[in-house]
Amino acid sequence: SQTIHQWPATLVQPVGSPLSLECTVEGTSNPNLYWYRQAAGRGLQLLFYSVGIGQISSEVPQNLSASRPQDRQFILSSKKLLLSDSGFYLCAWSAWGGGAQETQYFGPGTRLLVL
């Protein structure tokens, strides 16, 4: 069966420090991968998605970037964190090729607090 991992679970970082959040998927090949940010009362905002290695699409201009160095690895990064980057970050995957009809499966999330 497929599983999705995210780490760390919780992170407290000072403003201006770098960030690296990792997401890995097991049990499937060539998944579509997604990074979301969840803010209280604002639902889930799609930040990045990837349909293959090295293929990253950004949904919103921001201080963050994403990379997909391996088929089942998706990394969210920042060179210098801002206070506004605080939030709950969710990684998700869906099966490739199923198009819009594939369900997305979510990881446990990383809670980031920037001080």
Binding site: G41, G43, L46, V51, G97, T103
Partner: protein, 116 residues
Amino acid sequence: AQSVSQHNHHVILSEAASLELGCNYSYGGTVNLFWYVQYPGQHLQLLLKYFSGDPLVKGIKGFEAEFIKSKFSFNLRKPSVQWSDTAEYFCAVNAAFLRNTGKLIFGQGTTLQVKP
């Protein structure tokens, strides 16, 4: 641009009360519709989904949702809620033109609190 609106931000019900959570979307073409649920301390998980066919969709734990195309709505219902239904509920939409990206547009979520 597509958008999804959930009108109820925070709902408080007593056990055995009936539930209806509203969800409206803005895209006029073919859509796929989802309800996700996040129980306290757990992953976001799929509750039910609509792709085509019968507009009344049944999901897990006694939940159902009805797709009304003319109203651009996909409301979630449950006849009798339980304390264990306390969670945050998210409506999501994917438009057919998004093809293989599988991108979802989420509503802002509704927090349901069920009092025992």
